[in-house]
């Protein structure tokens, strides 16, 4: 009880900040990552819009971004973050590196989901007179939806982790709490509660992802 009186408010605030950072960056990461993932798939040699240049350039960008450890990316993009948000501190500022870090991840998630799709279905759509754009948004994306949903829960969970790291550079959220109280002030009780809350958030996201994916899937 005493613990709650002392830390209840900051825990709640931290949790809200973590959720805000996570979901806002998931949104933007999909805004950029979904088209990238689609482009990676359709520009492939045997797909509907083959283009070696597009495929290679996108693949390289994705690989470079993904090979930079997030904690380093976080610091490296600070000047850019200042330019976009006006500050490098706080939850809003953290969204910039989070989106940069997660977009290539989303692109790969989308790519692998869309690649699972049976090519025959795309061929059938083409035979019915679908344009390439219609094949993408009326066939490929809806047919891959269960797999895309699963991918999005993995992305979201990864971003919960990333957002905690962003706590290092003053982003707020549960990571920030763990560092300021758990690491600098030896409040091991608060540290423990932070972990419990994070585990709960991750479980909830995974459960929701699995549940929705299964519910919308008509394949079984």
């Amino acid at each position: 009880m005493e613990f709650l009186n002392e830390f209840g408010d900051i825990l709640l605030k931290g949790t809200m900040e973590t959720l805000y950072m996570t979901f806002a960056s998931v949104f933007f990461a999909y805004l950029f990552g979904l088209p990238m993932g689609v482009a990676l798939v359709v520009s492939d040699d045997n797909h509907i819009m083959p283009s070696k240049i597009v495929n290679r350039v996108l693949g390289t960008i994705v690989n470079i971004t993904r090979s930079v450890p997030f904690i380093i990316l976080l610091i490296a993009v600070i000047p850019f973050t200042r330019m976009v948000v006006g500050t490098a501190i706080g939850a809003d500022a953290a969204i910039v590196p989070l989106v940069i870090g997660a977009t290539p991840f989303v692109a790969r998630m989308v790519e692998s989901a869309l690649k699972e799709l049976n090519k025959g279905i795309i061929e059938a759509a083409a035979s019915m007179g679908c344009s390439n754009l219609e094949i993408i948004y009326k066939v490929m994306i809806p047919e891959s939806m269960p797999s895309l949903v699963l991918g999005s829960s993995i992305t979201t969970i990864t971003l919960v982790g990333y957002s905690a790291m962003a706590g290092v550079i003053g982003a707020g959220g549960l990571g920030d709490l763990a560092i300021r109280y758990g690491y600098y002030r030896y409040e091991s009780e608060l540290m423990l509660v932070t972990i419990v809350v994070l585990v709960f958030i991750v479980q909830a996201i995974q459960f929701a992802g699995n549940h929705i994916s299964k519910k919308i899937n008509r394949l079984y």
């Binding site: 059938a124 019915m128 679908c130 809806p142 269960p146 394949l219």
Partner: protein, 235 residues
């Protein structure tokens, strides 16, 4: 109706060139059920895909109703494709859409309004005898039922031609026969010209009035089924 003129198709990749069709010509007349028979790898699937340009011939011309489709722009080709239905060995239904929405799909693409599309889809469901399955999903259907849905879908835009790529190869003999009978009645009642790619002589014997025999990228024999069958029996 369909005229294929000196079509050659070469697939090129790093390992070299592969000749899938070697200067092939054939003509399908209105009302025909035209069989194309051959072993796997003979080029028959490539040939049928050259009719709606899912595969573009490396050389040669393809005409539909006297119009050269190999010279068309993509936007014109899309229109032509809507007048050519196609069905496949693996059915290729949209697995996340139910039966009636699968049948409505090509209508949606062609811009038919919703009420009209629903009416048309219900007619087609009746034609293929699957009224009670309209809200089932493909995963809940048997192979024969899936092919019936695929046929209904292929007929949605009232095509002049139905292309069948090994449409019965994944089905058991009894189901095969019922699908062939359905195709025959579509040909007779609706006047749809049908091209059937198959490796089974029985399919040709059962419904095709004409047949072309394809062997290592060439048509080695073609004509009326009754004449060709005789030739085969001798071999």
């Amino acid at each position: 109706m369909i005229k294929i003129e000196n079509v050659t198709k070469i697939y090129s990749n790093k390992r070299g060139d592969f000749l899938a069709l070697d200067d092939v010509s054939m003509e399908v007349e209105k009302g025909d059920i035209y069989g194309v028979i051959g072993l796997s790898g003979a080029g028959k699937s490539t040939l049928v895909r050259c009719i709606n340009l899912l595969e573009r011939p490396t050389m040669g011309k393809v005409y539909i109703d006297g119009e050269e489709i190999t010279a068309m722009k993509k936007s014109q080709l899309i229109k032509v494709r809507q007048s050519l239905g196609m069905i496949f060995q693996d059915f290729n239904l949209l697995m996340q859409r139910n039966v009636i929405d699968n049948i409505k799909f090509p209508l949606e693409i062609a811009g038919v309004d919703k009420v009209e599309a629903k009416k048309r889809a219900l007619e087609l469901l009746h034609l293929v005898g699957l009224e009670e399955k309209s809200h089932s999903y493909p995963a809940q259907l048997s192979g024969g039922q899936k092919q019936r849905v695929a046929i209904a879908r292929a007929l949605a835009n009232s095509p002049k031609v139905l292309l069948c790529d090994e449409a019965t190869s994944a089905l058991d003999p009894v189901t095969t026969l019922s699908i062939l009978n359905l195709l025959k009645s579509i040909n007779e009642k609706m006047g749809v010209t049908i091209v059937i790619i198959t490796h089974e002589m029985k399919v040709v014997e059962t419904i095709c009035n004409k047949v072309a025999v394809i062997e290592s990228a060439n048509i080695v024999k073609n004509g009326y089924t009754k004449d060709i069958i005789g030739h085969f029996k001798e071999v």
